[in-house]
Point group: C2
Chain length 440, copies 2
């Protein structure tokens, strides 16, 4: 049998510990599958003393991640430290500069420094694998990088954050508010103590920027992603969605438009019978549309130590087998700069929810303002609040929820119509606006 | 730039023509993605004269597929002839024996001769890629072969035949019989003139045998697959399934049991909220359960020239990139022989539909017979046929449909209980039996 692949692993948190466990438990199976054994020869982590329930007896301890990355006794460097800065960044750079392939689960590092790291990897003929950075155990990175090379990508979109999907699922199932479900998610460990990186959409944006780069060859840059989080979503929106055969999901969407690659993260109405609408709880999913073929959807566990470790091990195994593809599927020098999508030019259907004042002329005013912007209405639902007295009429003067689904239009037109409606003083409070993402 | 990869392509049917078209249209993009251009230098097909709407001006015509396979002017042989025998088999053997990598979409060839071909490929250090043989454009072969090397597969199951799924979808949507939907599918080109290879489950069995080999390391052998087709399914079964929150799908299931790898194809009740239950029409889907992580599901177009060609091109691109994994994910010599699952030992839940005679003691008799076999009932639905006269009782003497869902039991127990019930003469006709496949 050929020489083993010697792994140096930095970071022994949940994922790092799970990687060590899998590599030990599946040692024989991996050797068979890869044609050579995989051995962890050295590790590095913040504290050597901490009991992680791992047998580290035969593994060399290196106190510094950068030193480990350069260590001549390792063939591949696995970075599970996390964070976009040092020590993760410096260690990955050191490994690549030494010509060592790198496996990382670090989405923040890739989102911020992906292009530079890909260039460095290329320069030193070293692989840079990051299946675990997006979608946990779902093989989405390798699918975009290698499985559809003959296709022109049209759109890639998905549920990339389990915390948000868990909260939206619970809000719908239990008719609870965002705040209540967030608290529940925190109690159950599905949301961080500081949850805003997740619920405001930044985590999804980092992952989306990586997927967009793989699909469309854009330079990874989360600053070019339009971002809206889920905190404004109410149980009323989820109810209305259900009534209109939609479901609300926080999607990351990257799509080709005549004006360039549009990258955006926002709460989205998706048709209830679409594969993505069925994805509940902390599960992740990504749908790929290409010009040539109809959607391919991948669904699976998007987070958790074992799911993430499963993807890390697959990346290590690829290196053991000698699989080598450019990090973003093409030479880094060919990645094109992208700019932030001007959302006013976004085209699509919209869900709009108002509280309309119950007075003569309200409906006519709203209809007129939409018509002035050439917005066609696909459906409209008006719900009466309060009880209708037996044989009588609904109580007057209470604002009435009105829900409108529009056909495809531009965001600009919708914003202008809403501004006019607000000026007309026929609605109470701010209207709610949710973009619709249809099947192609 | 490095030398181009020279492709020899045998078979210019729908898929072959689509492969040529994609390789021409995506020529530049593929060169970027693979680091070298891909050129079709020679083709072979039955008739050189036929107009296929393709520009074959710069492509050499080789009259014989075997001669093309051995041609020193090609680096990779693409077999799109089809069929388990010659010329496909001989040509693939010739290419591998000459040390040339092979890409094929031929499930029948792989199902029958997969082990021998894998051995030959290994002996000559040549790749044998067959992503297009199962699930069309869904990257299921590469996912099982390479994306989950650190996982212990527990179960792989899916909708692998678009014809059957189309028929079941239409039966459910339109409340039509199997025969009517089959005719419709034939009219629309979704079913062959001779449809029995598809509707009786043989196509699914061939594909399943390939997936089982990739996941569990069994020697591919469709004769080891238990097979039941969909022709016995009635609209009443689909109605009852809906009422009980299930949907009926023709599944291929390969799973690890204490008695070995069970491979089976049969109509199956799946929970209505599972990812697989949402798959409608000609779409395919595969779900993977591993010991370590919860289900990963891949959904996408399972047939059609472009979808299949997309997978063929991905396999060619892997060869251009130098990716090389054993055909079934491990050395062919390590593939283990499997035997046909003895279905009487199958364990799971069951759907049973009887026409019970409307006479005193029927329910008691049925319940007793199930209890004698230690079968527990999860739910029971009894539907009255005919109208109840106003203020009166349901008409007597007409057999009444009774639907029972059991908890997990053995097939043996169910068969014995049904035989006893038939002997008791409390039912009319043969009972319908559909196995249930639950989420893990």
């Amino acid at each position: 049998m050929v020489a083993p692949l010697r792994v140096g692993l930095a970071g022994l948190g949940t994922v790092g510990a799970a990687v060590l466990r899998i590599l030990a438990q599946q040692h024989a199976a991996l050797a068979v599958r890869c044609g050579r054994p995989i051995e962890v020869t050295a590790v590095s982590a913040r504290s050597q003393r901490k009991d992680r329930g791992l047998d580290l007896a035969n593994i060399r301890w290196v106190s510094d991640a950068v030193a480990l990355a350069r260590d001549p006794g390792i063939d591949v460097f696995v970075e599970l430290i996390g964070g976009e800065g040092d020590p993760a960044k410096g260690a990955v750079q050191a490994a690549l500069a030494a010509g060592k392939p790198v496996v990382t689960a670090n989405k923040a590092l890739l989102a911020r420094h992906g292009v530079a790291l890909a260039q460095l990897a290329e320069q030193h003929h070293a692989a840079l694998n990051f299946e675990a950075a997006v979608g946990g155990a779902i093989p989405i990175v390798r699918t975009l990088r290698q499985a559809l090379p003959g296709n022109s990508f049209a759109r890639v979109y998905g549920i990339l954050n389990g915390t948000c999907n868990y909260i939206l699922t619970r809000m719908e199932q239990e008719n609870l508010s965002f705040a209540d479900c967030l608290k529940e998610a925190q109690r159950l460990g599905y949301a961080e103590a500081d949850p805003w990186f997740d619920v405001d959409g930044h985590d999804t944006a980092q992952k989306l920027a990586i997927l967009a780069s793989l699909a469309f060859g854009t330079q990874v840059d989360p600053d070019n992603v339009y971002i809206e989080g889920i905190s404004s979503i109410t149980p009323e929106d989820l109810d209305a969605a259900a009534e209109l055969d939609y479901r609300v999901k926080l999607l990351g969407v990257a799509m080709k438009t005549p004006k360039g690659i549009e990258q955006r993260v926002h709460p989205t109405m998706v048709p209830r019978d679409s594969a993505i609408a069925q994805v509940m709880g902390v599960t992740n999913a990504v749908t790929i549309d290409t010009e040539e073929i109809s959607p391919i959807t991948l669904v699976g566990p998007g987070a958790g130590g074992t799911a993430t470790a499963s993807a890390v091990v697959a990346d290590i195994a690829d290196i053991a087998r000698g699989v080598h593809a450019p990090p973003f599927g093409r030479p880094a020098g060919l990645l094109t700069s992208s700019k932030k999508a001007p959302m006013q030019r976004h085209e699509g259907g919209y869900y709009i929810r108002f509280l309309a004042l119950d007075q003569p002329g309200t409906a006519a005013t709203i209809a007129k303002r939409l018509a002035q912007q050439h917005i066609s209405i696909e459906s409209i639902v008006q719900r009466h609040r309060g009880e209708r007295p037996l044989g009588g009429e609904y109580p007057k003067g209470i604002p009435v929820p009105v829900i409108i689904i529009t056909y495809a239009t531009t965001e600009d037109a919708v914003r202008r119509a809403l501004a006019a409606i607000e000026r007309d003083k026929v609605i109470s409070g701010k209207p709610q606006l949710i973009r619709i993402e249809k099947n192609r």
